[in-house]
């Protein structure tokens, strides 16, 4: 195993492109090390990028945000402005692991794991987040939802590395929320996750994005939930319609954490509960 500490993203990409065996980028480090011990992956090349310029920064990009690939969940929680504008994204990231892991886990790492149950991903998809990818052909920007292609696999090409997550500008009277269901109180993997992002005009929902995690091989952006919510003031009929749309969108697996039927039902319950939170938050924003 070789350990590399390149001095620029260009060098990092070049090393990755030349690597003949398995190659991993190290930003936070949590998942890579778990895989090492579990004998799932033994990389031949480990490329540490955490120290590179911009990797650890949370910065304004226009009216939106750029979150460097090595920014940890703990650092996001400490940024009051980010938390005020994107509470759903920050709380989703906060659910990734315990306090002891928050100091290492990153949005990018959570995304690149390509686990259907990754908590931060539905929140990012609901937020309409994108990622910036550096690669042999230069930089490109793609929606978060396009990164995971199947459990454990991403759409990243050889030599490509995510350098940042981008969140759009926060409109007036809008907010997001993320809820997940886990069987115990702490430290668990989502059985269902739900991200909701709403914009209001007065009390009426004018724009909505809704996303579900852990109910299909990859994260789902569910337009039918958004359609059920848009134009409503979140009355019971809209909530029921949104819950039904959520359940209908599910294509989960049966496993030890929850049966298909259970996940399907819980997706509806969580959609209602997350929508209520996002709605209240949006009403509280000027």
């Amino acid at each position: 195993m070789r350990y590399h500490r390149p001095t620029s993203i260009g060098d990092a990409v070049a090393i990755a492109q030349d690597a003949s065996g398995t190659c991993r980028f190290l930003a936070g480090g949590t998942d890579v090390l778990v895989q090492l011990r579990a004998d799932l992956v033994t990389p031949d090349d480990l490329i540490d990028i955490k120290h590179l310029p911009g990797m650890r920064d949370i910065s304004r990009a226009g009216d939106g945000w750029r979150i460097g690939a090595a920014v940890t969940g703990a650092e996001m929680s400490e940024n009051a402005d980010l938390k005020r504008e994107w509470p759903g994204v920050v709380e989703a990231m906060d659910l990734v692991g315990s306090t002891q892991i928050q100091g290492r886990a990153t949005l990018t790492g959570n995304l690149c794991n390509a686990s259907p149950a990754a908590d931060s991903v539905p929140a990012m998809v609901a937020a309409d987040a994108t990622v910036t990818i550096a690669g042999p052909g230069g930089e490109r920007t793609v929606p978060v939802a396009e990164i995971p292609v199947s459990p454990g696999r991403t759409s990243l090409q050889k030599g490509e590395v995510i350098t940042a997550v981008n969140l759009p500008a926060r409109a007036a009277r809008s907010a997001d929320a993320y809820l997940r269901f886990i069987p115990r109180t702490e430290m668990d993997i989502a059985v269902v996750g739900c991200g909701i992002n709403l914009t209001l005009d007065g009390d009426t929902i004018t724009h909505a994005r809704a996303s579900l995690g852990a109910v299909a091989p990859t994260v789902l952006l569910v337009d039918a939930i958004a359609d059920a919510l848009i134009g409503s003031t979140l009355g019971d009929a809209a909530l029921d319609a949104a819950a039904a749309a959520a359940s209908a969108a599910c294509n989960p697996i049966d496993d030890k954490r929850g049966t298909i039927e259970f996940r399907t039902r819980v997706a509806g319950v969580l959609t209602k509960r997350a929508a209520k939170i996002a709605y209240e938050r949006a009403r509280g924003q000027s």
Binding site: M1, R2, Y3, L26, G29, T30, L33, V34, L36, R37, A38, D39, T42, P43, L46, D48, K50, A74, G97, S98, T99, Q100, I101, G103, R104, F181, P183, R184, T185, E186, M187, D188, I189, V191, D255, K256, R257, G258, T259, E261, F262, R265, V266, V269
Partner: protein, 916 residues
């Protein structure tokens, strides 16, 4: 693997070391920077045992790349305790409040809590839970940790002064802090993986990836030759003595290394021994072995179906053994009963999930071998190893390492044979530590159960007949399966008066992990069925469930289902009566809540009882305690009862000190090293306080008699340990005891005593009638829970536990046992189920976290037992038995649903709610 040199500040000291690519910070700290106070439980970020501070922030050292420590400030628990007054005060509260049991989680808890307290001097309970949510503890049930972390919520205050010296002499009845506590809070206690010096040879086991497979091993000579750093391979051919081991005579059927056929996923077929640096990168897939998967039977239905593959030729139909108890005529009594409740109950494998994976260190010594490893049964280990190695027992020395939790699974051999074989084969010191998934795959589990039960009752509320048929899945090998089959029929009645009773238990072999001993030996599974049906009978008879139980409980002079009559010491009635006020209060509160609450939430209150016979079932299980006084007047106690966190080191010393009449802190205590300490039996069956405790009392009394005889003092004389030596004070004055060095024996003792105790039992006849145990302990729990009917979740809100312990030797440690047992019972009821291949780590196998365990109130009942030391009874297993049934009964009260399968996961409860 070459490392790049980094420098860091470790606990205030600048250190330089190479950091290898892909290396964990935890490994670097432990192996190259002497920081063995950093503990390892999973290497996956799931347990938090490895928590250290990096520039002040708590992080899992196992998930932090070593080179990331370059230029950083690292603090571990040892450093914090040297320099941070917050940590020092926290340590005092941990000790005083009994927040550390086995101690393997304690450094991670202390480090995480210190980080919190530095930022927040007055954290709320939720803030503490948030900070410690990533640190798992399997022993304490977390409540004492929560109390200890908060500077103001420290409940130990009325018990002990701040300096943690025992206030009094630390005798029987005093809630003194555990005597070995500091090793745990400081991380200096040496657990299985902490003994070996860095850099010794290491062992990795090659395990079968299938439930059942034939296999052939290729050319191992060539493999050793071509793989650099590998020095030896061990297979069945390298076992000079007995190929198979086990714990029950006649059932020693588990091979050290499988021969030709592997019968469960995770079974060992070979071991590879190599240099430490190479083993870190060793890929088990490179080992030359070819597998031929075969059809597997993984549950008892499949294993007993006609034509099922037979695991062991001697056991047709895969029937391992049977247990049976019969008295009166159960079928007739059921036929004439006014009502009969019946049910079919099932449960799955449950994993012990102690935070310390099995680990140890061995070295060739003299003509034999010395093995340091975590164990619950050092002397049994020695006997088994001698047989495997074909050596006399005198050539095998077992030095028990600290045990980071056992709960039954560390009664069986795990790493020991591989360590011993490798040390003898290579002639060098060797070490090994199981990875978390190896530990979960290969060590014993709680038996899955399949129980059919019927209980009858008359209109007047008395029980009339009970018929129990239990099938227990013992996995591929017997382990303690025969004990489970024997114990269950004796206990399945619960602590009730039942004249007409029939109980049969069968142990069945399957292609699963061996099921063995786990807190309760099958009794918790049986109690779930029996207590559920009692509630259903009470409901149908419209009698209050607690009063229904009281009407039928055993009392002094009432015959048990085994025909045993205790004329003293039966405390279950006292336990239930002690719960009455809480029962009435909580039921009213829950009814009020349900009447007014809107939405999906429903509350329920449930009660359940349990009993458990202390010691081996109708078999001898002696304990011996040896002690001596040196010529300098030092009093030495050879204490061989393995302390796996429960507190034997403290409790046995308290009993001995009381009998001798000296303060407990004046004893020098030697551990269970088989070279110096006699056999105190195994730490199982809730026997140590009772059996070894009695031996300690006898030894203390004998030594006292010898001491007093030296000066002809009266029996009630006082022993004074003065700087000038031992003095005896009685009515006739003060006498100095002369301790002549010339009279000392080989061990330096001028006076010694050695006493053995074996509890009186009688064999069971073919109907299970006899006197299986000299004493039983009794317990009853109340669970208060809230169900979210929308999601199917169950949130325990409060537990109240009444335990008849005969005499509370140490109330603080009793609370610790009760709280820890309840946490495990809660896990069994609501979340724990081990599925081979699917839950082999601590994020897929869920155990309760600090957020899952509700407040627990412990009511100590002292119904003295004539046999126990100062009246004391065993407790370890009793703590867990009533918990799951009480929770299930509470769910029934909240929802009207009687659930027949544990764990009651949200998905199962939701499905049942929907079906209704």
């Amino acid at each position: 693997m070459s490392g790049q040199e980094i420098t860091l500040t470790l606990n205030g000291e600048r250190r330089a070391t190479p950091a290898h690519p892909g290396e964990r910070l935890s490994a670097m700290l432990r192996e190259r920077l002497d920081a063995r106070d950093v503990k390892i439980g999973c290497d996956a970020g799931d347990c938090g045992a490895c928590t250290v501070l990096v520039d002040g922030d708590p992080v899992c050292a196992c998930l932090t790349p070593a080179h990331r420590a370059d230029g950083r400030k690292i603090e571990t628990v040892a450093g914090l305790l040297e320099r941070d007054p917050l940590a020092q005060a926290l340590e005092a509260r941990f000790l005083k409040g009994g927040a550390a049991q086995c101690g393997i989680c304690t450094p991670g808890m202390m480090v995480s809590a210190t980080a919190l307290l530095r930022q927040n001097a007055d954290p709320t309970e939720d803030e503490i839970k948030d900070a410690l949510g990533g640190v798992l503890c399997r022993c304490t049930g977390y409540r004492k940790i929560l109390d200890a972390v908060h500077p103001g919520r420290d409940k130990g205050g009325d018990r002990q002064p701040d300096n943690i010296d025992p206030g009094g002499p630390g005798h029987v009845g005093e809630a003194i802090p555990r005597l070995d506590g500091r090793g745990k809070t400081r991380g200096s206690e040496r657990f299985g993986d902490d003994v070996a010096p860095p850099g010794t040879l290491e062992i990795r086991i090659i395990r079968c990836p299938h439930d059942h497979a034939g296999f052939s091993i290729g050319d191992t000579g060539k493999f050793v030759e071509k793989t650099s750093g590998i020095v030896a391979v061990l297979t069945a051919a390298d076992v000079p003595g007995d190929q198979d081991f086990g714990v029950i005579p006649g059932f020693r059927d588990q091979p050290v290394f499988a021969r030709d056929t592997a019968r469960f996923r995770g079974e060992a077929v070979a071991a590879v021994v190599g240099e430490a640096v190479c083993m870190a990168e060793f890929d088990p897939a490179s080992f030359p072995v070819a597998w031929t998967p075969r059809p597997a039977v993984t549950d008892t239905d499949a294993a007993t179906a006609p034509g099922a593959p037979v695991l062991h030729a001697r056991h047709a139909g895969n029937l391992m053994c049977k247990g049976f108890v019969k008295t009166g005529d159960a079928e007739h009594a059921l036929a004439v009963a006014d009502i009969v409740a019946e049910g079919h109950f099932t449960s799955g494998f449950v994993e012990h999930a102690y935070i310390e994976p099995e680990a140890g260190y061995a070295l060739p010594e003299g003509d034999g071998v010395t093995v340091h490893a975590c164990t619950q049964a050092p002397v049994m280990d020695r006997e088994s190893l001698a047989a495997i190695l074909n050596l006399p027992e005198s050539a095998v020395r077992i030095v028990p390492a600290g045990v980071g939790g056992g709960f039954g699974a560390k009664l069986d051999l795990s790493v020991q044979p591989y360590l011993a074989l490798a040390a003898l084969k290579t002639g060098k010191p060797v070490r090994m530590a199981y990875s978390r998934s190896e530990s979960m795959q290969s060590t014993t589990k709680r038996h899955p159960s399949d129980i059919r039960l019927r209980i009858g009752a008359r209109r007047d509320g008395t029980l009339s007949g009970m018929a129990f048929h239990g099938v227990f899945n013992s996995g591929a090998y017997a382990s303690w399966g025969p004990t489970v089959a024997n114990r269950v029929p004796v206990h399945a009645s619960g602590p009730y008066r039942i004249g007409d009773y029939l109980a049969e238990a069968r142990g069945i072999y399957t292609h699963g992990p061996p099921a063995g001993a786990f807190r309760g030996f099958g009794v918790p599974q049986a109690a779930i069925a029996q207590e559920a049906l009692l509630d259903e009978l009470a409901a149908r008879l419209e009698i209050d469930p607690l009063e229904f139980r009281l009407k039928n409980v055993l009392e002094n002079g009432v015959t048990t289902v085994c025909g045993q009559v205790f004329d003293q010491g039966v405390g279950i009635g006292a336990c239930l009566r002690a719960l009455r006020p809480a029962w009435q209060r909580e039921r009213v509160a829950a009814a009020n809540f349900n009447a007014t609450a809107s939405g999906h939430f429903r509350r329920g209150v449930g009660v359940a009882s349990g009993w458990y016979g202390c010691g081996n079932t109708s078999l001898p299980n002696p304990s011996t305690i040896r002690c001596g006084i040196t010529s300098k007047g030092e009093i030495v106690l050879h204490q061989g009862a393995a302390d796996i966190g429960q507190g034997a080191n403290t409790v046995i010393a308290q009993i001995f000190a009381t009998a001798l009449g000296v303060p407990v802190d004046r004893l020098r205590i030697l551990g269970g090293d088989t070279a110096i300490t006699p056999d105190a039996g195994k730490t199982s069956a809730s026997r140590q306080t009772f059996v070894t405790g009695t031996a300690a009392r006898l030894a203390g009394e004998a030594l006292r008699a010898k001491l007093l005889a030296r000066v002809n003092a009266a029996r009630d004389a006082r022993i004074d340990l003065t700087p000038e030596g031992i003095q005896i004070v009685d009515g006739s004055g003060r006498h100095s005891v002369a301790l002549d060095p010339a009279a000392a024996d080989d061990d330096g003792y001028v006076l010694t005593a050695c006493e053995t105790y074996d509890p009186p039992t009688e064999p069971l006849d073919e109907n299970g009638q006899g006197a299986p145990y000299a004493q039983f302990g009794y317990a009853a729990h109340i669970a208060v829970i809230e169900v979210d009917t929308g999601l199917g979740t169950v949130r325990p809100l409060r537990m109240i536990a009444a335990h008849d312990v005969g005499r509370a030797i140490n109330p603080l440690l009793i609370e610790g046992q009760v709280e820890g047992g309840i946490a495990q019972g809660l896990g069994m009821a609501l979340m724990e189920e081990y599925l081979p291949g699917r839950t082999e780590n601590l994020h897929d196998y869920l155990i309760p976290t600090i957020g899952d365990v509700p407040p627990i109130e412990t009511l100590i009942i002292e119904e003295a037992d004539a046999h126990g030391p100062y009246g004391a009874k065993g407790l370890g297993e009793h703590a867990l038995i009533p918990t799951a049934p009480a929770i299930l009964n509470a769910i029934r009260a909240a929802t009207g649903l009687s659930l027949r399968r544990v764990p009651v996961t949200p998905s199962r409860l939701r499905a049942a709610l929907k079906e209704r």
